[in-house]
């Protein structure tokens, strides 16, 4: 298991040890190991069915593993019921109690722990302020928009002062603008509360924006653990590279150290130690492809499509039988004959997923 990139913060707060879980003979997690540090914003990132939600639900106490153990603050909580765990969840579907007012919703957990009335009232005020919904105490759930409901769900969770806040795709149902605002809010909340966030999403942008640590998962296996920078700049395999952003992932052969051949062209790169004539995956990010005069590039091609994306143009360039995805700020009309160039530093070489510790790497297009 790779521990690369997990920031040196504080002690382990949560440990998953050899967790396996199947639903009706379909394995969801297989010998899953992960630790989460105190005060970390950790994101489980992956496509649907990768096991990220199951992992979160086990932590919340809504599923039990078939085998393995979960430790929280040094104690085995594998079979502890959900209501006895010191963590709170923000669910995907808001799941506010529709027959209660906003104040009653937020007070739900506090009433169970028998807090005094004045304490509860203060907490409600504080929590509503924190999520920018002051004065909403008496409103009904139905009168709130999706984004507001989600904030109340967050408020309802954090008033209980959990050590860990679990968030299951909490922004999934919101529109783009709101989602971005809520991302900033969540980062702010995390700083203010100083607690651990475990966040589940399939949105790579969300993960990159908010996380201290990202765990990329696929088909029940961890593909890579690292900081957002690690994951983006140094994907460990083609799955991570593809999932984290649209990339050019091309079959290549590592001729020798610092020289790779793709699409029939030899290119200098910076990677070493792959051996000679080894098949590899080569990842080149769209923004790293330079368009030059046809004679100056590694290969020549034609622009086949052009889309304006605001900050940049997104181009398809057909060259040597491969459709290159290119991001550029220059306007290059369709039909232009261009040369393609990539500087050695921007060519990422990755092992083909054959070894056993890179299980379940598969890219569905």
């Amino acid at each position: 298991m790779s521990e690369m990139g997990q920031k040196k913060m504080s002690k382990h707060l949560i440990d998953f040890i050899d967790i396996s879980k199947s639903f009706e003979q379909t394995p969801v997690l297989d010998e899953f190991n992960l630790y989460i540090r105190e005060n970390e914003f950790l994101t489980l990132l992956g496509p649907s069915g990768c096991g990220k939600t199951t992992t979160l639900r086990m932590l919340g106490g809504f599923e039990t593993p078939d085998s393995g153990q979960i430790f929280f603050d040094g104690k085995d909580i594998t079979y502890l019921p959900a209501n006895e765990r010191k963590l709170n969840t923000v669910f995907q579907k808001y799941s506010l109690f529709p027959h209660m007012s906003i104040a009653e919703n937020i007070a739900f957990g506090l009433k169970i722990s028998r807090k005094s009335k004045s304490y509860i009232d203060d907490k409600i005020k504080y929590a509503l302020k924190l999520v920018n919904l002051d004065g909403y105490e008496k409103r009904s759930v139905h009168s709130l928009s999706g984004g507001q409901q989600q904030r109340i769900a967050i408020a309802r969770a954090i008033v209980n002062e959990p050590k860990v806040l679990l968030l299951d795709e909490p922004l999934g149902a919101l529109d783009l603008k709101l989602r971005q605002n809520m991302q900033y809010e969540l980062i702010r909340l995390k700083e203010e509360l100083g607690i651990t966030f475990v966040y589940v999403t399939h949105d790579q942008e969300e993960a990159l924006t908010m996380s201290d640590t990202i765990v990329v998962m696929n088909q029940g296996y961890i593909q890579q653990i690292g900081t957002p920078e690690d994951i983006y700049n140094e994907p460990e395999n083609a799955f991570v590279a593809d999932f984290i952003g649209h990339s050019n992932i091309i079959d290549g052969i590592m001729i020798t150290d610092r020289l790779v051949e793709i699409l029939g062209v030899k290119m200098p790169c910076v990677d070493e130690g792959f051996g000679e004539n080894t098949p590899v995956d080569v990842v080149i990010r769209p923004e790293d492809v330079e368009l030059v005069e046809p004679a100056d590039g590694y290969m020549e091609g034609d622009v086949t499509s052009l889309i304006f994306k605001g900050v940049h143009y997104e181009l398809d360039v057909q060259a040597n039988g491969y459709e290159w995805l290119v991001h550029t700020t220059k306007y290059v009309p369709v039909g232009t004959h261009v040369g393609i160039k990539v500087i050695p530093f921007n060519i990422q070489i990755m092992h083909k997923p054959e070894s056993s510790d890179e299980r379940a790497v598969e890219i569905d297009e």
Binding site: G61, P81, A82, K93, F97, P98, F108, G109, I112
Partner: protein, 256 residues
């Protein structure tokens, strides 16, 4: 113009066929004359006679007991069954729902005869057998009322309650129950209506000596038509009507 006239006539005919017989019955229950063909003036005497008639009153008490006991028990069992079915997988749900629906579609008289045949094997026919029969045929209606609501209720609200520290029973009482209560209530009302309404199944399972209002009406009508029975029928009609209305304008049903 003509089109409008025809459509009005059509509507009028439908309502006439539906309600004219009942209106005639209601009118006759106030008719101060023993014959059906002549209006002898307005009277309450058949109603008074109805309340003074011991057979009628005893049948009325039996009906009340059967109806409410069977409705309460079938609501309890039906609601629990709905919980069970809701947590099944799709395929299991279809099978069990089908199994509970068939008795509902089955001809009452067939259900009645088969229940009678079963009961006489094990016990004497009487109050208890009628009660069991009523519970049995009411359960599917309760399930049909509760199940859709239960499916619509977000399971994650229950989980959210647990997450906030609620014990399973507290979470059910505070979160799930308030959401399904209207459906359980209308299931109960449905069971009351079905039980009040039933004749065939009661007739076959009641044995001698026990009479509900509907079976008593039938026996009395065979002896000859008495105006008291019109009064009784009218009361029965309005009772069912009231229950139906109560079931439709039930409390706690807020517009979304």
């Amino acid at each position: 113009m003509i089109k409008k006239g025809i459509s009005r006539l059509y509507l009028f005919l439908i309502f006439a066929f539906l309600y004219l017989p009942i209106i005639v019955l209601i009118a006759l229950s106030f008719n101060n004359s023993r014959t059906k063909v002549k209006w002898g003036g307005f009277t309450f005497q058949w109603y008074l006679g109805c309340f003074q008639n011991e057979a009628i009153m005893s049948a009325f008490m039996t009906t009340l007991q059967i109806t409410f006991l069977s409705a309460i028990i079938s609501t309890l069992i039906g609601t629990l069954a709905a919980f069970g079915i809701a947590s099944m997988k799709k395929k299991g749900q279809a099978v069990y729902l089908g199994a509970t629906n068939i008795p509902m579609l089955n001809a009452d008289i067939v259900t009645g005869i088969s229940m009678m045949l079963l009961f006489v094997k094990f016990m004497d026919l009487g109050f208890v057998t009628v009660l069991i029969a009523h519970i049995t045929f009411s359960i599917p209606y309760v399930i049909l009322n509760v199940l859709p609501k239960l499916k619509a209720v977000n399971r994650s609200t229950y989980e959210a309650a647990l997450d906030l520290g609620a014990s399973p029973s507290y979470a059910f009482y505070k979160v799930t129950w308030p959401e399904i209560r209207p459906a359980v209530f209308s299931g109960f009302m449905m069971a009351v209506t079905m039980s009040l309404d039933d004749f065939s199944i009661t007739y076959f399972t009641k044995g001698a000596g026990v009479n509900t209002l509907s079976t008593m009406l039938y026996t009395e009508l065979r002896k000859g038509v008495k105006p008291e029975l019109y009064a009784l029928s009218t009361i029965l009609f309005f009772a069912v009507l009231l229950i139906l209305l109560a079931g439709n304008v039930r409390p706690g049903r807020k517009p979304n």
